[in-house]
Symmetry: C2
């Protein structure tokens, strides 16, 4: 079996096809909410403006729902079977964005105000809770012979998400250097829970519902985790060097926020002198000037942090592909998963 | 079969006995959390002060865990079988308190700062999320033949909780009089979701796990809903006439917060003149003076709002008892449920 990706253009096609199978059920689920959280949930999903006017183009890329569908097709099951899993995972992902934006104080996401910024903190808490509850409910009521196993897996993932977010928040208070400093291993453990777990869950749930063999579910889950880690690294790279036009965030935004992301931590691990200079720049109190942010970005790049992170993401995408090729999976779906992975990796290249 | 309560002293005894079967598992579940949310969750459960020093006496009454255990014993199953259900329900209840306090801006609960007041809003959001995820996980991993049915019921309840809270928040922006005013039916629908649903779920989950017959589960669930409504009314009465020493809240606190609670809405429905005066007093902008709050309390009482609410709670407790007597249940556990109900009703008498 070959798993080389077909033409690159298959990735947007796969995203669109999967979205078409999932979105009606996702919209129906959100429509069942109380009108207030429904409107804010629709806003957070990019379906309307803050005043309720329908809109398009501000939603997420739908990578989780796509991977849920493709993994299910990869085990030979129909896309329909993946729908409750895909809806649950998209809802839980959106919940985590809405609540994380409150905790992180982030005011902008996808070129728009975040939910708490647009509607207030209390309503944003409620919106996240509504999405969380709806995600659990969607999967729980899907039922079927393997429903309970799927719900268990989602429940474990919810614990991972919270644990990862708690770690990430704690990173802010931990020092850049010296005892208690955040190291690469700390970063990886955090990212595995905060981002890897839900992608792993996305690729496992449909196959679980389809009754796929445990080693196959395990391989798909691991592939999802690796892709989650890779996407997190790409986000980290975009958070420093991303084009504000594309990311909807200011240039060097993660440096201004003094976030302990992989490129910076890698630079500090690779180069003692860079570590000292970055620790001084990013560890100082008060706002970071534009010049200092530029300087920090240059130090990270000079010390090899950017290349290290990029290599990391490439290795994780390759590891995901290895997980897939080790198993007897449907060729076409597998090819689309690989194409998707490379497409997202290319966002940064 | 007789369901008259035994001596009143059985209620604290029942609470203590049920707590003893549930608390070790509840503590073990919370101990599995990330250290940061673990400490805040322990604080919210009354197990420690904000600085982590162990404490006692600030926890809830544990009525939900007690009803979960007693309902399970009432269908002839052992208390142990109820434990994951009881833990899940206590965790979900605590989650809703932590997040509702953020949304309502409440600074005090049980004579202490609320979680957001003690630790900040972001950490309180995280704590609620951690409790929510842990509650779902605890029930999901309990498994068993009827585990999936139990998880479904909890998931539906989560949706009810969010819906009820959304209604309650919306009440704040709705007028006291005229078109769009909050009526008694609106109040009951809100309270049924916000408080009734979780009590109903508490009394249903253990019996579901024990494989009790659907009519029995239905009767126990309905009994729990009725008790939930009764407890909400008692809370409403305490919110106006409760002793600050006992409630840990200022006198007339719900009037100062201009909350649309049952006694006030009943007074307005019963007496047109009172409705007009209350609408003027409570509908005015700016803070309510002590004199105005006293005046409003007197108008509510004079118009019969206090008696109406009390009668409502009594009727709901009687309806709960009727649900129980209609079914072939274990006598001793049923007697304890009735004793508990009357004990909580008496808090207000």
């Amino acid at each position: 079996m070959t798993t080389h990706a077909g033409p690159r253009t298959t990735a947007p096609g796969a995203l669109a096809r999967c979205r078409a199978s999932v979105e009606p059920a996702l919209r129906a689920a959100v429509a069942s909410l109380h009108p207030q959280p429904r409107r804010m949930a629709s806003f957070s999903l990019g379906w309307c403006d803050a005043d309720g006017t329908p809109s398009t183009g501000s939603g997420g890329k739908g990578v989780r729902q796509a991977l849920a569908v493709l993994a299910t097709e990869a085990v030979g099951a129909p896309a329909e079977l993946a729908v409750p899993a895909a809806v649950a995972v998209e809802l839980i992902h959106t919940f985590s964005l809405v609540h994380d934006d409150i905790m992180d104080g982030d005011e902008r996401r996808r070129h728009r105000d975040t939910v708490w910024k647009a509607f207030g903190t209390g309503p944003a808490v409620l919106t996240g809770d509504a999405l969380f509850a709806l995600g659990v409910r969607t999967l729980a009521v899907a039922g079927g012979e393997h429903g309970a196993t799927a719900v268990c897996r989602l429940a474990e993932t919810l614990g991972d998400l919270v644990h990862g977010q708690a770690d990430d928040l704690l990173f802010e208070t931990r020092p850049w250097t010296g005892p208690g400093a955040v190291g690469l291993a700390d970063y990886r453990a955090m990212a595995d829970r905060k981002t890897g777990a839900l992608l792993g869950c996305a690729m496992a749930l449909g196959p679980v519902l389809a009754g796929a063999a445990p080693p196959v579910v395990g391989a798909l889950s691991e592939a999802g985790r690796q892709l989650g880690l890779a996407f997190q690294v790409v986000d980290d790279l975009l958070g420093i060097w991303g084009d504000p036009q594309a990311t909807g965030k200011p240039v060097h935004s993660d440096l201004h926020r003094r976030k302990k992301t992989l490129p910076v931590l890698a630079a500090m691990a690779l180069d003692e002198k860079a570590a000292e200079r970055l620790g001084r720049l990013l560890g100082s109190p008060g706002p970071l000037s534009t010049t200092d942010a530029e300087r920090a970005a240059a130090i990270v790049e000079g010390a090899g942090g950017r290349d290290f992170a990029l290599e990391d993401a490439r290795r994780q995408v390759a590891a995901a592909r290895d997980c897939l090729t080790a198993m007897p999976l449907e060729e076409s779906a597998t090819r689309e998963i690989v194409a998707l992975s490379e497409y997202f990796l290319d966002r940064q290249l």
